[in-house]
């Protein structure tokens, strides 16, 4: 019974809950706590799988003893699936971690060699450690997490942004680095890849990504104010990701793919983006990278810009509520396992 209960909870958490949480509006008011809740949902799902593995065999014997082949078969299936999921998770986590470490190390080496910061007088007065400028007309900014992190701005970005905007972008990226958002994204990516392809959902991945951006936005807002961050988002967003469809983009994307780092998965059939097309373009259900990346990024950017309008949207009530939900959820599988045991133990207590 315990195994089936845990299985039901796990299925609810992986099939039903993500959709409604991604569609909810309150996470924007407590992004950090909402990330914790997503983590709790994912982790609890995994704990449920583990619980099925652990509780399954004993119950299987009981079922076999009482001679109910259907129940036994269900438990065997649950056991096999759960064990598979755990092995896949570990393999996936190791793979994602290894790939991003090597890619970052190589990227860091090259960006250090190509750094052009000395030539740019328009940088803020106190240039933070680890800031690199990559020469090129395209305006963009990103950070390279890790033990020796970098914030990279392109020459193009420095040309289109003013000093206050540059400071806001740097503050945003530094918040990502300081809070190790890369580890959060890596764990969700690993989980995503561990799920068998037909069952995979991008919903948690995209929702968490947006929430982490909001967390970094909030940190940058505290340091530099909302206005420069908001205008930097608008300026850089217009430059890199025009909304709406673009002709022939998957072709040019394939042509542009290098033989360099990150291309080892390139053996997969093309058109992956197109296959997943068709999700509604609303909040949290954005489309995958690839064909409609600009659209997904555009929706994400609009939400972030809207959020920076007006007063600080964060609410301590929602933060507390989400945190309590996250903790409660994590405890639930343990309760499901412990309660029957406690029940039996108490009934055996000689009183």
């Amino acid at each position: 019974m315990t195994a089936l209960l845990l299985g039901a909870l796990g299925l609810t958490l992986s099939l039903v809950v993500p959709g409604s949480l991604a569609a909810a509006r309150w996470p924007a008011r407590a992004p950090a706590a909402a990330v914790a809740l997503w983590q709790s949902i994912t982790l609890t799902g995994i704990l449920c799988a583990l619980g099925v593995v652990l509780a399954g065999p004993q119950e299987l014997v009981e079922e076999l003893g009482s001679g109910k082949p259907a129940g036994a078969a269900a438990l065997v299936a649950a056991l096999v699936v759960a064990a598979l999921i755990i092995v896949r998770l570990l393999v996936s986590l190791a793979g994602v971690t290894y790939r991003s470490r090597t890619r970052r190390a190589r990227h860091r080496l090259l960006v250090d060699l190509l750094d052009d910061a000395e030539r740019h007088g328009e940088l803020p007065a106190e240039v933070p450690e680890g800031l690199r400028v990559l020469d090129g007309p395209l305006p963009f900014a990103y950070c390279l997490p890790g033990r020796s992190p970098r914030v990279v701005l392109s020459g193009g970005a420095l040309r289109v942004l003013d000093r206050a905007q540059v400071a806001a972008v740097i503050a945003h990226e530094q918040a990502h680095l300081r809070h190790r958002h890369d580890l959060v994204m890596e764990s969700f990516t690993a989980f995503h890849r561990a799920v068998p392809r037909p069952l995979r959902s991008r919903v948690p991945l995209d929702a968490v990504h947006l929430l982490l951006e909001m967390v970094a936005d909030d940190a940058a807002r505290r340091r530099c104010g909302a206005a420069p961050l908001r205008s930097a988002l608008a300026v850089l967003g217009d430059a890199v990701g025009p909304d709406g469809p673009r002709p022939g983009d998957s072709g040019s994307r394939d042509a542009a793919r290098p033989g360099g780092p990150g291309s080892r998965d390139a053996a997969q059939p093309g058109g992956a983006g197109a296959r997943r097309r068709g999700g509604p373009g609303e909040a949290g259900v954005r489309d995958p990278g690839g064909a409609e990346d600009g659209g997904g990024a555009g929706a994400e950017r609009r939400q972030r810009i809207d959020r920076l309008d007006g007063p600080d949207p964060r609410s301590s009530m929602w933060t507390v509520a989400a945190t309590l939900m996250a903790v409660g959820l994590l405890v639930l599988p343990t309760v499901i396992v412990v309660v029957p045991w406690l029940d039996r133990a108490l009934s055996a207590w000689p009183l």
Binding site: G136, L138, A141, R202, V240, G241, A256, S263
Partner: protein, 121 residues
């Protein structure tokens, strides 16, 4: 001076030279501005060769070093690595971008411009 800065300056010398240089030649060029041990330059070149960003060729008695890619090629490769989407569409966890991904057609154009040479920036 940090090792990273020295690596960058050595690379700059190799790119500016336009021909393979010996350790001695790199050392001479760098020592114009400051004191630098010959062995330090040798170590740096060796490290860069191990990281495959410079190539090492044996001519006569001395090793000559050349950049594996021109500065423009390396910039283009780096931009591509930073900005192109992961092949299976899963957002890559390795880097975090300020605003989403770049428009692929703009990216291709920019890469082409970078490959042709410094784009007036």
């Amino acid at each position: 001076m940090a090792l990273g800065d020295l690596e960058r300056e050595v690379m700059q010398q190799l790119w500016d030279a336009g021909e393979p240089l010996t350790v001695r030649q790199v050392h001479d060029r760098l020592s114009r501005e400051r004191d630098l041990a010959y062995t330090t330059v040798m170590t740096v070149l060796d490290r860069l060769a191990k990281k495959k960003v410079v190539t090492q060729q044996k001519t006569d008695r001395a090793y000559r070093y050349a950049p594996a890619q021109s500065r423009e090629e390396m910039t283009a490769a780096l931009m591509l690595d930073a900005l192109s989407a992961a092949p299976d569409g899963v957002r890559d966890a390795a880097l975090a971008h300020f605003v989403g991904r770049i428009d692929p057609s703009a990216l291709t154009a920019a890469i082409e411009a970078a490959r042709r040479g410094p784009a007036g920036s």
